[in-house]
Symmetry: none
């Protein structure tokens, strides 16, 4: 039985301490992995980076940790993409679309929540430079986080920061052995590295760093980290969930007292959305007071959006009627200037 | 400088031949990798599997290869999820949501197109059994393909078939070191394996097989392959693109020559109009053919008109559904430029 050819190795960095704000992550890695060598890719879990950088929300004794978590998600999000029950898929300030803004309540004490690093590319560059100083090695660094995916169950690790390695390996314009031009083959190599590293890091084993050795890496110039992975809005075919109401929860809209109406409207829209999947639209609704639900068109009103919203509105009203509610639609302002389209008043269910 | 701890290795299988229908893939791998050992995970590019299984579309000399590719996408798709220009993201018969139904025109001669394997889990099971016979080893097998993702640029390899390994590593119910219960941590380990393998396989190097060594793998019982990765429709927040209205193209729905459709649509709009008097709109509709009704916005398209029309359209569709019709809405042209908004297709009433 012959020996296998040389491939790549994925090596755990064991014996790292628990990290707290202000710790020297690079020094800890250098201590635990003095065997680091030129060309290695050091993959660091974002949680370790966030801990040393103090990207934590402190949860005081007696505070509602879950409520604080939801509040932190709102603060980290620039946009809600989809919502279902307690799950919110949002776009973060860094441009990542991820459940709960990447905020995790696991692998941290009960007195804190961990946010994503503010700028994980900068974190990666800093870590790379410090490892170079400490060990005299030229390594690449990937900062990884665990994301879900559309259409596929299960989570995988992807890159949220990188330094010393191109995020995408660009095969566009290359020609395969048969003369076919590879038009769209750009491999997200830093995401594949994050996934490979996760195989040895695991989720419970307390190994936040792994090293990939043996992969030829070109040094990028300029070093733009993971920015190339962020899809431009114009290229995004899935900017919003198609069936789900994205409820903008605005504090102080006085929704508390008469929860029944809003829930009835939300449910009617959910039924309408699932019955009319061809009319995807994000509906943000919030109560303007008792028995009335504001219906917003969103920030980019267009004829198509208006048509789609109308289709769901009409179907929802039919559904409300079927459940015994009376309704009245009141246009508010002129669409085009304002994003506010109208109000849906609900009457007492017919008895 | 101490040595690194043992990790995992990702080893290329070099020297494999070009595969053609009927080739013995297992024998070729056994020849090229006699060093395979118990516990190894053999990751095989789906293209190699499809080639030996004859999952090819033959392109005759002089035929329009691109037209044949688009036709093959339609045939492999059960549902169009989103479309933009020549790009179609579809759900395949196997439940995968992927651009162009996973059909690739690269790494194959100009006289053929490669489809995804019909049942890559079965392919993986067969390959695993044959490798066991040939080499006396107990390996796992993953069949990989290259997929795009929502919200992130770049492609990564994921699993479309597996045998001898659980698709998901389930950490639900486990408790981390801080006492936090990990509610949703199910890692798609076969996808991470596919990504790790791609790091050594590359896209142009002609290495369709790699082996991951050193990962502890539990043998699943029963061995359900990759089925657990397919997200159920009820859990899918992104069943359709949000900006593009997409109709499911169901072949053989027999839309021709039924006189009742237009009258049914007209009646549904009459019912909708009387139920929703707040949405006054003059609806002009005329048949573009049997089983299809053109819906016009009128001569003064505005956001308000579009909303009103949409409300009637949605209510009318609900009415049609209540009467047993199936419907499909297809946008025609771009509102703003044209007053023509779309077509409403009617399917056979459910019986």
């Amino acid at each position: 039985m012959s020996e296998p050819p040389a491939g790549i190795s994925v090596l755990p960095v064991e014996g790292l301490p628990e990290f707290t704000p202000g710790d020297d992550l690079a020094a800890a890695i250098a201590d635990a992995a003095p065997w680091l060598a030129d060309g290695d890719v050091v993959v660091v879990t974002s949680k370790a980076v966030s801990k040393v950088e103090g990207r934590l929300v402190h949860v005081p004794p007696g505070a509602d940790r879950e409520a604080m978590r939801l509040q932190a998600v709102e603060q980290e999000a620039v946009r809600v993409v989809a919502r279902r029950g307690p799950l919110a898929i949002v776009e973060t300030r860094q441009g990542w679309v991820v459940a709960a803004a990447g905020i995790d309540a696991s692998n941290i004490g009960q007195d804190a929540l961990v946010l994503l690093p503010e700028d994980a590319d900068a974190s990666a560059r800093s870590l790379r430079a410090r490892l170079g100083e400490l060990l005299g090695v030229d390594v690449a660094v990937v900062v990884s986080d665990t994301f879900g995916r559309t259409w596929r169950e299960g989570l995988t690790d992807v890159a949220v920061g990188a330094a010393g390695i191109p995020a995408l390996t660009d095969h566009r314009g290359a020609v395969d052995a048969w003369g076919n031009r590879l038009e769209t083959t750009r491999v997200a190599v830093v995401d594949e590295l994050a996934s490979a590293a996760d195989l040895v890091k695991g989720k419970l084993s307390g190994v936040p760093v792994a090293v990939v050795r043996g992969l030829p890496v070109d040094r990028p110039e300029p070093d733009t980290g993971t920015r190339a992975l962020v899809r431009r809005a114009a290229d995004d075919l899935f900017p919003y969930g198609a069936r789900d109401l994205v409820g903008a929860r605005r504090p102080g809209t006085g929704l508390a007292a008469r929860a029944g109406e809003r829930e009835a409207v939300a449910q009617a829209f959910r039924v309408a959305s699932s019955a009319l999947p061809e009319f995807p639209v994000v509906l943000r609704h919030g109560g303007a007071g008792d028995g009335v639900v504001d219906v917003h068109l969103g920030d980019v009103p267009s004829l198509t959006t208006a048509l789609n919203l109308g289709a769901l509105l009409g179907a929802a009203i039919v559904q409300l009627h079927a459940e015994g509610w009376t309704t009245r639609w009141e246009p508010v302002g002129t669409p085009g200037g304002s994003s506010l389209v109208g109000r849906l008043w609900l009457g007492t269910p017919a008895s």
